[in-house]
Symmetry: C2
Subunit: 311 residues, 2 copies
Amino acid sequence: MSSTAPPPSSLPHRVPDLGAMVLLIAVARHGSLGRAAREVGISQPAASGRIRSMERQLGVALLDRSPRGSRLTDAGALVTDWARRVVEAAEAFDAGAQALRDRRDSRLRVAASMTIAEYLLPGWLIALRAGRPGTAVSLLAGNSAAVALRLMAGEADLGFVEGLSIPEGLDGTVIAHDRLVVVVAPAHPWARRDRLTPGELAATPLILREHGSGTRQVLDAALAVHGGLARPLLELSSTTAVKGAAESGAGPCVLSELALGEELSARRLVTVPVAGVRLRRQLRAVWPAGHRPTGPARDLLSLTAREPGES
Amino acid sequence: MSSTAPPPSSLPHRVPDLGAMVLLIAVARHGSLGRAAREVGISQPAASGRIRSMERQLGVALLDRSPRGSRLTDAGALVTDWARRVVEAAEAFDAGAQALRDRRDSRLRVAASMTIAEYLLPGWLIALRAGRPGTAVSLLAGNSAAVALRLMAGEADLGFVEGLSIPEGLDGTVIAHDRLVVVVAPAHPWARRDRLTPGELAATPLILREHGSGTRQVLDAALAVHGGLARPLLELSSTTAVKGAAESGAGPCVLSELALGEELSARRLVTVPVAGVRLRRQLRAVWPAGHRPTGPARDLLSLTAREPGES
DNA sequence: TGAGGTCATAGGCTGGGCTTATGTCCAGCA
DNA sequence: TGCTGGACATAAGCCCAGCCTATGACCTCA
């Protein structure tokens, strides 16, 4: 989604579907088309054909077939690993969607801020599912006030918020930190800067999320000390839109570190350090004061709890 | 792929296909089903039906339809962002696969080590495509020696290797560092350790990639000073298999930081610092001595080149 | 040489997803 | 008030991708 290009031969036509990727991964694991077919619940000829058509589509041989089984070619190994990344993203999607579906009456009802629901929660749910398979989780996403409300009303068992303080009436614990970072396209002059002064940041129009987002609040608070609020160059409604605008060189933007994995390692965006501004915010698990989480809520909490040796 | 579970109702059945995700993202961008349909090249009723069936599948309303257009619901916004992650992974897949396909005769022929080809290159190619749309890239993955060979033989224009030194006959520049980290499942005793001594690491059987992998070499070299080579508990052939084994509690493993994004933030795995061991390795771009890259090779190189303000 | 594993090929069926044509609703404008 | 245009929904029909079963070819090992 880095461009608004009208896709002549669009992505889905150039990429095998999820089923094919899952199948390929299964073949890699089992070393056999037939066994992989059984695992994913299709017949051996179907698997054979499916892999074959994937090879045609990609123009690369993926498997060395032999009468004793099938092994990945070098290219196949690479493709399989890329496929795994796609499948992992799909699993996160599934975990999140599943939590979203079970609107009420689930055993564990979680209320979380947007950023946490978006970036962290699906991973936690996958982990939770691995450890406690049966647990049904429902998810409600909203801002800190909404999360607090749900908890106080007994409509959620565990909450996650980002921000500077714990909402009234709740107890909580810090589970992680999130850093806001200033990023620009590699071609932007700031990409060469050793560091920025807070004054410069406050004086420069930035690409931002719309007013009211958590990111925006933290940024405003941090800059208040140094010459006023952040000045918007563009106000966009989704994180991805912000990234896209920054990538295409529209200007600098400020985003949560959590949102920037791929873009940074591909150097589609680069970070610009800012001297002496506190752009860290705490991510907290919260619950009604006095009611320490128990049962599945405790399980989830312990999954997320920060421990000494941190990355 | 974190488990070997036999999928009763498998992932692809629970997750919409790529086309649907792309469509949803387009709807989010345009605020209109019809316009989104046009963008992805299908008819308006097809788009309508497709989104509807996605809502049925997920059990969540994604769109607020009105006679003046469609806006995402809150749940829809979340789902769209998760979908974007899947689509981004698919784009990386596509970029990699495309490079793999154009075996010979491409304008820019890249030879890269496995780790770089797997984790970094697709992102670079997406960025390159954004900046220099027409560039056809071909990719050849292999170990350092193979990369050197290709470059010397004139069969590749630019190479990427990981390791301690530049192969004979090549010039190069460091473009990034890769840290190897020791990770364990959160339940593992080491997860509580403040830090490990190198001796402990050398004395403990680890889950490792098979002999000959770059990761393995660096680890062996680092541990050689402290009581010998790494001792394998399991030797597995893919990074993901190693992660899976570690997650399920089989033991500690050592992996490149690049391979561990999701697992760490979800705390499915946690890192264990090791005192006084040099587990950094350099990632380098290389080319035949004296032949500085030009043209598209230079473009790609400048995309990857490290600059002062690093994250 | 036969048994048991592998993968490939062939033929026939089914259904999901597409298109076109049409209906309904709403807003804005005369 | 009634017309127009844009939005989405519904209906009917078509088509092809992908599946299954059945079978064949090949290799290995006893």
